[in-house]
């Protein structure tokens, strides 16, 4: 073998070796199956509410793309957005293109209109720069009687992989429950965290029973929960589940619920996205510890 041929063989092999070493160094992230398909997705995703709506600010857009880079490098896949979130969709689309991550991302988008849903979805798709969405959800149940059949028709036609609905901050749970019981949906998105646990009563058990995947929004109550908790030292149980911060403890509490498929914390900080992604690995609390965590946090 000539020296040039040897180099041509060795260079890709060295590259593959480096990639393998990088993957081996990364702690194994917990994944959950989407009940309707069996497809596995990492339990920590990335929200874009407020954090990615930075308009045309070049420096802020680059910062968001850095967050996405670290998210993907840590094994993340699901990114969630909405037409309601201003420039977030365009920022995500730019990031996916620059990072060449269109094939990695699990794109979770929403339809948020009482008029023509198809036109809005196409506009969102162009902003995301993806061939199709993985998941489309009816945002806050807006005109769900009209939009859900549209999403189901798109899924049947192969233009969409999953269909869902969303709510937040404990609103309209009775209506969400009715839809979960009466409609064929793959995902439900709701708020659930250490303090807001209403979903445990009906919606989370129902999701397990009906085979519906659960996305959890506002895991930190828009940061207010962490600001409150960070005034206190981490309790002893944090070490038991390998948490180094309150954010990780809050996320582990959520993703260790057996009905939860993925939590979607939003951030514009690289340090925070790394911290969040680390919560997808290591030991998880069992049911007894989860109850203790919730009780302790309520007292703080």
């Amino acid at each position: 073998m000539r020296r040039r041929d040897l180099l041509l063989h060795l260079v890709p092999a060295l590259g593959a070796g480096a990639l393998h070493a990088q993957n081996a160094a990364r702690p194994q992230s917990l994944t959950r199956a989407i009940a309707s398909s069996g497809e596995q997705i990492p339990v920590v995703g990335l929200g874009s509410w407020i954090t990615f709506n930075v308009g045309n600010d070049r420096a802020a857009r680059d910062q968001c793309i850095e967050v996405m880079r670290h998210f993907f490098e840590a094994g993340g896949r699901l990114i969630d957005s909405s037409p309601m979130y201003g420039s977030s969709q365009g920022v995500i689309g730019e990031g996916l293109q620059k990072l060449r991550a269109q094939s990695k991302v699990f794109s979770a988008e929403k339809v948020w209109t009482s008029s023509e849903g198809a036109a809005q979805i196409e506009q969102s798709r162009q902003l995301w720069r993806v061939p199709r969405f993985d998941l489309l959800q009816v945002h806050n149940l807006l005109a769900w009687e009209k939009q859900l059949p549209l999403l189901q028709a798109m899924k049947s036609a192969g233009k969409l992989r999953y269909v869902g609905i969303t709510t937040s901050e404990g609103r309209r749970h009775r209506e969400v429950e009715q839809i979960m019981r009466s409609q064929r949906i793959d995902f439900v998105q709701l708020s659930y965290n250490l303090l807001d646990r209403e979903a445990e009563e009906t919606l989370l058990p129902l999701a397990r029973e009906r085979g519906i995947a659960v996305l959890v929004n506002r895991p930190f109550r828009e940061g207010a929960l962490l600001r409150q908790l960070q005034r206190h030292p981490l309790p002893g149980w944090a070490r038991e589940i390998e948490c180094t911060s309150w954010a990780q403890a809050a996320l582990k509490f959520i993703v260790s619920h057996p009905a939860v498929t993925c939590a979607i914390p939003a951030t514009s900080s690289v340090a925070h996205v790394r911290e969040n992604m680390a919560a997808a690995g290591g030991r998880m609390p069992d049911e007894a510890l989860r109850q203790r965590m919730a009780t302790d946090v309520r007292k703080l």
């Binding site: 407020i50 930075v54 308009g55 979130y85 807006l142």
Partner: protein, 200 residues
């Protein structure tokens, strides 16, 4: 939208305070030195309001209409709409105010009707604050000078100065005065609510 009473302004503000102030900073840097021209126009407005000469009211209303159109287009439509889905509606409201100023202030004038002195005094105070003092508020808040909010460039000082000049004006009947005050008052309430949401 059911359960509407459970929604607050924070549910509709889809951007962070940092993003908002950075938007203003970039906007100011892009249009500089238009702020100096705007400030000069504001001082001319104060002079016109004080002078009470024939046609002064028409010039005042015309200049104010131009200021509202500038904010509608350059701020709400060109910048704010990139982070706030409600900005196109604000653009329309500001354009409507410009139209009202032209119709009620430039095309048709009433005979001079001095406002009550206390109302006029309040009007002068508000106009002075909107044009001269509002840009200086940035220094008190500790934000950089580049984030200063100037009359005819940003909504709140424009609305405050307009409301003040409408109250201080001699040439408007009470009905016209109220008609020209509605949108500035709503704009100021929205601005105050936004700042309050940021602070909470």
């Amino acid at each position: 939208m059911s359960e509407w009473w459970t929604y607050g302004l924070s549910d509709f503000l889809m951007f962070s305070p940092r993003t908002y102030w950075r938007l203003i900073e970039n906007y100011n840097q892009t249009i500089w030195p238009a702020q100096a021209v705007a400030l000069a126009a504001g001082l001319v407005l104060l002079w016109l309001a004080a002078d009470w000469r024939a046609n002064g009211g028409r010039w005042m209303a015309g200049l104010l209409a131009l200021a509202w159109l500038c904010v509608a287009w350059a701020f709400h439509w060109e910048r704010y709409a990139s982070i706030n889905w409600a900005a196109p509606y604000m653009t329309m409201a500001f354009a409507l105010q410009a139209f009202l100023l032209v119709v009620l202030g430039v095309l048709r004038r009433d005979a001079p009707m001095p406002a009550a002195s206390i109302v006029q005094g309040m009007g002068w105070f508000m106009a002075g604050v909107g044009i001269v003092l509002y840009p200086l508020a940035v220094l008190v808040s500790g934000r950089p000078w580049a984030q200063a909010e100037v009359f005819a460039v940003m909504p709140e000082p424009t609305a405050l100065a307009t409301l003040g000049l409408v109250l201080a004006s001699h040439g408007l009947s009470p009905v016209r005065r109220w008609a020209l005050a509605i949108i500035p008052v709503l704009s100021l309430l929205l601005g105050a609510a936004t700042l309050w949401t940021f602070s909470t």
